[in-house]
Amino acid sequence: MSDDIWILGIIMTKFGKHPDKDVVDLASEAAMGALKDGGVTMKDMGILAAGNLMNASAGIGQQLQKQIGQTGIPVYNVANACATGATALRTAIMAVKSGEVDMGLAVGVEKLAGAGLLGAGGTPKSDKKEWAPSGRYGAVTSTDGRIGTASMPGVFAQVGMEYGHKYGGTSFELFAKIAEKNHAHSTLNPLAAYTKRMTLEEIMNDVMIAYPNTRSMCSANCDGAAAAVVVSGAKLRTMSLEQQRRAIKVKASVLTSDPYEEGCQVLPNVNTLTRNAAKQAYEQAGVGPQDLDLVELHDCFATAELVHYDNLMLCEEGGAADFFNSGATWRDGSMPVNVSGGLESKGHPIAATGIANIWEVCHHLRGEAGPRQIEGAKVGMAHVIGLGSACGLHILERSGL
């Protein structure tokens, strides 16, 4: 096997508020941390892939190089909604897999603390004194709130409710219980933005944002960064035994977009592209859902986590509510999901998320997760969705050395 790909070094920063650090500071902390974790330096990197969604035109990759090392290597600045981090990682993986380079660095960084509601409002457009049609729909005024919602909590609320309409078994309480699980898990994760355990009552009585999602059922806007060093199997075998022991094998790396289906341009369909990615990933990795020891999936809202149990084939089709109610996805269950606390508590600094979830899985596969370690974890999955849509999926395996 000469085309196998490994994560050599990986890290996430503390997620939360970093008022004293700018985007470049956070990216640098993550990049330097990942390089150190892998026992390499910028001089060893053949490619840099970098993502920062909120300033996608600013060239975060080159800014990062000026802060930690301008070695002249190609930089790919990527933007792919909430899948930006996974896309950066996949870009580095493709470069190594193609044989052009034997090592690459992927970085995702975001400053979002206090950003508030995302997705809503669109182009600011006040009610005019003369109605004049404009834009693609000939709208005479803003349509957000008049023709449904464009806000993320509302869109993903509808994603969960649609699942309930199709299969039944869902309720406000069920969705709130998913948040209860993730907030409970977060108490063991010192890098999470919020680590407070919340009761079901506290969650259900929290400020309602978009029924059935209350505030504590929504992902937390915060600051953070994550980075990973990718290496070819051939190169890894020339490195130290310790580097080989801690390296994590990338068993599958997949990126999909949403194929056309009726209704997908009315309410984004986050299901089919995830299911397609899962099928491809299981085939690439030669494993099935039953082989996974832990899963980090994209719980941007509690309503989203439920549908992805089904999309990732962790349960029978249509059986996500029963699957959750069985307790399977708690950290002591048969299929631990979001033991990091998920985006609802860990936080969701957009471009960092798709690498931070890989770090969480690697942390367990390396046996380094301390009090929240899933004992004996050998294989894990990390999933992200960028609305629009993009799905990034990785299956990872410990080295076995």
Partner: protein
């Protein structure tokens, strides 16, 4: 009627008012705005079709927190109008989980959004309970 304008151009203010869509002549996929080629089959010919008034509410969210200037609460809904999915608010109905439920029958309804300095009324649409 000359003094009315629809909120969006796919709302047709005939009697009765209705929604229309661009339909791909090859596969029947429907789009509320223009397409150069069909997202489903790559066909390049479209015709205008009317969307039926009656539908089933297949998903909703009661939005209580929105961008500045958007009045809350409102009910955002997805309605299956005989095979065509439509996004619209559920209107003429209390915005509460007790009043709105998945699978409820709804029908298209219009209302006056406001009047401009020329006396022209902007007409919006939503879906109201059909029972």
């Amino acid at each position: 009627m000359a003094n009315q304008i629809p909120l969006v151009d796919y709302l047709v203010l005939d009697e009765p008012a209705h929604l229309r869509a661009h339909e791909c002549t090859s596969c029947g996929a429907r789009f509320f705005d223009r397409r150069n080629a069909c997202a489903g089959c790559s066909g390049t010919e479209f015709r205008m079709v009317d969307v039926t008034h009656d539908g089933i509410l297949t998903s909703f969210s009661i939005v209580t927190f929105a961008a500045p200037g958007v009045p809350v609460p409102f009910v955002s809904g997805i309605v299956d109008c005989d095979g065509t999915s439509v996004r619209g608010n559920v209107i003429n109905c209390e915005p509460s989980p007790e009043a709105v439920h998945l699978g409820m029958k709804v029908r298209l309804a219009t209302y006056v959004l406001g009047t401009d300095d020329n006396g022209v009324e902007a007409i919006g649409f939503g879906f109201e309970p059909a029972n």
